[in-house]
């Protein structure tokens, strides 16, 4: 049933490939993956490699972190070239220097950050790591 599970998506991301689904009915892209096209609900989709490039739409600097995380760090959402929005961490900016004018609208490339298994997680985690282009 699933063309791309979270594990397959994470494994590819760790190798530097951002995968997604392209809908053969409405041509829109879905990433991260889900069972059906996020726009039209069709299951007539295929796995494709996305460009891994996007633009930061918004962000925050987390100062009070959940158990298992060390603040401060930047959580951001990027709009990918293919359309989907992706949440991740900006990894090449000092959180103390992150302001709206030097973050929002900046171009990023998408890499991977691997988190060890923590309490209440089933296995290791992989989250998008955004690098702002020079």
């Amino acid at each position: 049933m699933y063309k791309l599970t979270y594990k397959q998506y994470f494994e590819a991301l760790k190798e530097g490939k951002l995968l997604g689904l392209k809908c053969n009915d409405c041509s829109s892209y879905t990433a991260p993956p889900k069972l059906c096209c996020d726009k039209c609900g069709s299951t007539n989709t295929e796995v494709v490699t996305l460009s891994g490039k996007g633009v930061i739409k918004t962000f925050t600097v987390i100062r009070v972190a959940p158990e298992g995380y060390d603040a401060p760090y930047i959580v951001a959402i990027a709009e990918l070239e293919e359309g989907p929005w992706l949440m991740g961490n900006i990894v090449n900016v000092d959180p103390d220097k992150a302001k709206m004018d030097n973050i929002i609208g900046k171009k990023v490339t998408v890499g991977a950050k691997v988190l060890p298994k923590m309490n209440y997680t089933p296995d290791e985690g992989v989250t998008p790591a955004f690098t702002i282009a020079e």
Partner: protein, 392 residues
């Protein structure tokens, strides 16, 4: 569909509690039962909101123990509702559905939560669990973080400089603390200033400490019954005129979530069922988990045009005496936010507002006839809206 009413309501003091979640709920429930002039054995089902009992007290399976704690009979079904911060509103909505549809005549609905037992790091982690875990939660996103990224989207979208927006957000906190200071059940009974909000420690930029609601212990409960029975139980039954609930996608899939589609959809359903419009609402308890959250909620509910609610706050339109009083109880911000109980505490406030019981407290919305509750669960995964009225 039968007409459905609220009879009695009950609520504990919010804040730090030395009582267990079940003890808190039992007190709120018994107040609602006594206020309805019924006996526990008259209740046919318990719908109990509770989110993190497992982490707070190591207590799963709370509903049946709560049922027996207050003397419900062995044959009474009891169900736990988990919809993150909207759990109790979901319980109330389902109680409405069961009574309206004719399956039950008398349902006890509410919720309880003992968050302060967890401490901030674990509490922040458990709240993070209500974000989508594989593609969102692992970024270390917190709930202040959710509304922090929303604040910046909002500032950009509507061209309101962040410094101006933050000042108006602070005014939401000031207003809600002003109301909460008069509420004997509120966690924080003190007024604050815009300057205090803007000089507080940063939690998730640009949100500061006083932009955020607290962790809270507390419980609330209401009796939901038929119009016919309610008229026999109490002098002033309050009707449930309409309900609506939506299911939102994870944040990254919602894209521009300054307009929360699940809320717009839930509110539309509730308004249509009640046959009323946003302008008909006299008083509302709105999910102000963060200052910006109240601003976007009042737009999605149709009280203000999109992009204009922060200006309306500045003009005082959401104060008691303003065009649409929002959160006369003090809201989640000042009254506190025990997430499993919050929706029932909002209902408690609206029911008493419509009965005109807050004159002495100094926060009565004069002549209020129709009220609304708005509760958000997760980062808008659940939105539940309930409309109350003094006429059916």
């Amino acid at each position: 569909m039968r007409k459905v009413c609220v009879a009695g309501v009950g609520m504990t003091k919010f804040g730090k509690s030395e009582k267990s979640s079940i003890e808190m709920f039992a007190e709120a429930a018994m107040e609602a039962i006594i206020g309805s002039n019924i006996k526990p054995s008259d209740i046919q089902c318990l719908y109990l909101g509770n989110v993190f009992g497992d982490f707070e007290e190591g207590q799963a399976l709370m509903a049946p123990y709560a049922a027996r704690e207050i003397g419900l009979s062995v044959g009474t079904p009891s169900l736990r509702f988990e919809g993150a911060c909207a759990s109790a509103s979901m319980a109330i909505r389902d109680a409405f559905v069961a009574v309206a549809g004719g399956f039950y005549d008398v349902v006890l609905a509410g919720g309880t939560e003992r968050e302060l037992a967890m401490g901030t790091p674990l509490a922040t982690r458990t709240f993070n669990m209500a974000t989508e875990q594989y593609y969102e939660g692992m970024t270390g996103l917190t709930f202040p973080g959710v509304f922090a990224i929303l604040s910046r989207l909002y500032s950009k979208k509507y061209g309101i400089p962040l410094s101006k927006l933050k000042e108006r957000m602070a005014m939401v906190a000031v207003k809600n603390h002003k109301n909460g200071a008069k509420n004997p059940l509120a966690q924080f009974r003190k007024e604050i200033t815009v300057e205090e909000v803007l000089s507080g420690p940063m939690i998730a930029e640009p949100l500061q400490l006083l932009d955020c609601c607290p962790f809270t212990d507390g419980a609330a409960a209401i009796i939901i019954t038929t119009e016919e029975k309610a008229k026999k139980m109490v002098e002033k039954p309050v009707y449930i005129l309409g309900v609506g609930q939506g299911s939102g996608a994870p944040l990254y899939r919602q894209k521009d979530f300054t307009l929360i589609e699940s809320r717009v959809a839930a509110a539309k359903t509730a308004y249509a069922m009640a046959g009323i419009e946003p302008k008909d609402i006299d008083v509302a308890e709105v999910h102000d988990c963060f200052t910006i959250a109240e601003i976007v909620a009042t737009e999605c509910l149709g009280f203000f045009d999109f992009g204009t609610a922060s200006e309306a706050v500045e003009k005082g339109e959401t104060q008691i005496g303003g065009r649409i009083p929002i959160n006369p109880s003090g809201g989640l911000k000042s009254k506190g936010h025990p997430i499993g109980a919050t929706g029932a505490a909002q209902a408690y406030e609206i029911v008493k507002q419509l009965r005109g019981e807050f004159v002495e407290r100094g926060t009565q919305v004069e002549g209020a006839k129709i009220g609304l509750t708005d509760t958000l669960g997760g980062d808008s995964g659940v939105i539940c809206n309930i409309l109350f009225g003094i006429k059916g």
